[in-house]
Amino acid sequence: MSVSHPMPAASPIAATPFRPTGPLMGVLPLAIGIVVAVLLHVILPGFVGPYYSRIVIDIGIAIILAVSLNIVNGMTGQFSIGHAGFMTVGGYTAGLITYYGSYFIWGTLGKHGVFLGTGEWLFAASCIVGGLVAAGAGYIVGLPSLRLRGDYLAIVTLGFGEILRVVLQQTGKVLDDGAAIRAAGWSQWLPPPVGGAIGFDGIPKYTNLFWVYTFVTITVVVAYRLKHSSLGRAMISVREDEIAAQAMGVNIARQKVLAFVMAAFFAGVAGGLFAHERGVIISPKDAGFQRSFDYVIMTVLGGRGSISGVTLAAIILTALPELLRDFEQYRLIVFALLLIVMMIVRPQGLFGIHEIWHFWRRRSR
């Protein structure tokens, strides 16, 4: 199995374009991504209107989830079908912080501040805290993966999502005014009042193109850098052959749990973005397996381990159903058939572990 990709620096004869090395490798794409995010935020809504802007936001969130799931399913070769569970953990945590936090900081519920104002920074921080809490959950769920082989792990992750759904359904109703929040005793805060089965309504809708694509950039750059780091190669070696990897001195247990924690972190961030998205009420249903399957399909179709491939799959699989609204009921039938045919015809996914530009480069030679 060739996990290596054509090394760019290997051919000194070819005139190589400017290729940043060292820390710049990470910082430059990040800076470009943030600039793009700002441009998107400023320009796009004016051009395409709120409906299509929302689809672009959905695409961004899907990219974060699919690319992060790819760390577990694609690079490390584990099989998690509870990714939506981590997303929901992050979403509820972030929602709790912005909803009740707004009250304790400013004395009012609801959105606070303008673009890049204090409210938005609270929101960004809440997404990161949501990510951290989800990462904690990822650690707990990842632990059994040390003892369980692939398909048992699938059941445990699936069970995690389902348990989470049941537990969230038992939470109390959202406290919707200041008096109720002040009057609430400890018994009402544990478990937190996040709305039960009907969902956490009233979370201030901070999510915008800028924050979504900033986090998309961070996720993609981290995943790409990870893939080409020694850590990422250790993960890929676990995927290829656990015993051989162990013989080479790779700490299998550590790699697996690390993959889970990282993937869960980004899923939690995406959950924070999702919970604050306009027109979305995050509810226990989101933790269920149906949503997890969506992201599994994206990683499988895009190529297990290919970051650009998975990104492309996330874009297409999110945009396509929106464009084909009339065929909504056929959506999952087509996706499922794609999945089956793909496994028979091209099991490594569209791009395998390669990135899109590797194919382009091969052809241009």
């Binding site: 398909d151 059941i155 049941v166 999952l332 499922a336 999945l339 089956i340 496994m343």
Partner: protein, 319 residues
């Protein structure tokens, strides 16, 4: 005491359903080493085709949804549905899983998820079963076979043994005995066990591996169909094919197979009853809101203490 007995009887009926479904998971896992996610959709197919027969075919025979047909009608419908679902199971194996015989297990698992999604959403289409719940017409009279009284005076509580529970228990018990005979007493069963023990060696011994695997799928699918049929006897409100209830039913049955020791036929039956008892008693004595949580907690507990399951041993007999 009355509550205890009643819960016990419900658990026995549900447990036999879990056991029937778990048998299909465990047989496929024993041979092909993957979780057949599409198995729960065969249960759905069994349930919904029972509904279709009872709703469309029976009225033409003169039994509308208010009159209860004689008992033999159910005894005719059940084998037909089992045959039909067995055929569907065969087709699925032939088209989706056989091309992947030499592929990594993860690929087969992903395919299984694909097949499951496909069946769920195909079943939801309007010309199939539709995307709304239905009410199953009663095929069994609501007889009480026996009733016991506990306590005296004001505190008297009655426990009823219903015909439905008894039929579920008896039918699935019979099916399990038939399977037991098939697996351990016939040449075909020996071939199945040989294939699960070592596929390549079995092939060298002249066992037609592909045919045995197909047969395993047919067997598992028809048991699942029977479980679906019995399930709608007990719970007449049928949810739409892609409803979470079905996936959870399948998941719990798989958990039962794991708890009993995956690949072990007797273990699956044991696991089915264990799961049902934990679930029913947990729901009754602790809180019914968390009934799914008990099952998964038990799974994680068992996996940590005895990863091979209750009856699984390093030299276990797998089918």
């Amino acid at each position: 005491m009355a509550d205890f007995t009643q819960t016990l009887m419900t658990a026995a009926a549900i447990g036999s359903l879990y056991a029937l479904i778990a048998l299909g998971y465990t047989m496929v896992y024993g041979i092909l080493k993957f979780i057949n996610f599409a198995h729960s959709d065969i249960v759905v197919l069994g349930a919904w085709s029972s509904y279709t027969v009872a709703d469309q075919v029976l009225p033409r025979l003169g039994y509308d949804s208010r009159t209860i047909p004689p008992l033999w009608i159910g005894a005719v419908i059940l084998p037909l549905i089992m045959l039909f679902c067995g055929f569907v199971g065969y087709v699925i194996e032939r088209l989706a899983y056989r091309p992947l015989r030499r592929a990594p297990r993860l690929n087969v698992l992903i395919t299984a998820i694909g097949v499951s999604l496909f069946l769920q959403n195909l079943g939801q289409l309007d010309f199939m079963f539709g995307a709304s719940p239905e009410k199953m017409p009663a095929l069994l009279p609501s007889w009480e076979l026996a009733s016991f009284s506990f306590g005296t005076g004001e505190a008297t509580r009655k426990v009823v043994i219903s015909l439905v529970d008894t039929m579920i228990f008896a039918t699935s018990g019979t099916l399990m005995l038939v399977l037991e005979y098939l697996v351990f007493r016939t040449k075909l069963g020996t071939a199945m066990r040989a294939v699960s023990y070592n596929t390549d060696t079995a092939a060298l011994m002249g066992i037609p591996v592909d045919r045995v695997i197909s047969f395993t799928f047919v067997l598992g699918s028809s048991l699942a169909a029977a479980a679906g049929f019995l399930y709608v006897m007990k719970y007449p409100g049928i949810n739409q094919p892609a409803h979470t209830v079905w996936v959870l039913l399948g998941l719990k049955a798989f958990v039962a197979a794991v708890i009993g020791g995956i690949g072990n036929v007797r273990g699956a039956v044991l696991g089915g009853f264990v799961i049902a008892f934990v679930e029913q008693f947990g729901a009754f004595y602790i809180s019914s809101n968390y009934r799914d949580v008990y099952v998964f907690a038990l799974l994680i507990g068992i996996l940590l203490v005895k990863p091979t399951g209750l009856l699984g041993s390093p030299l276990r007999e797998k089918v």
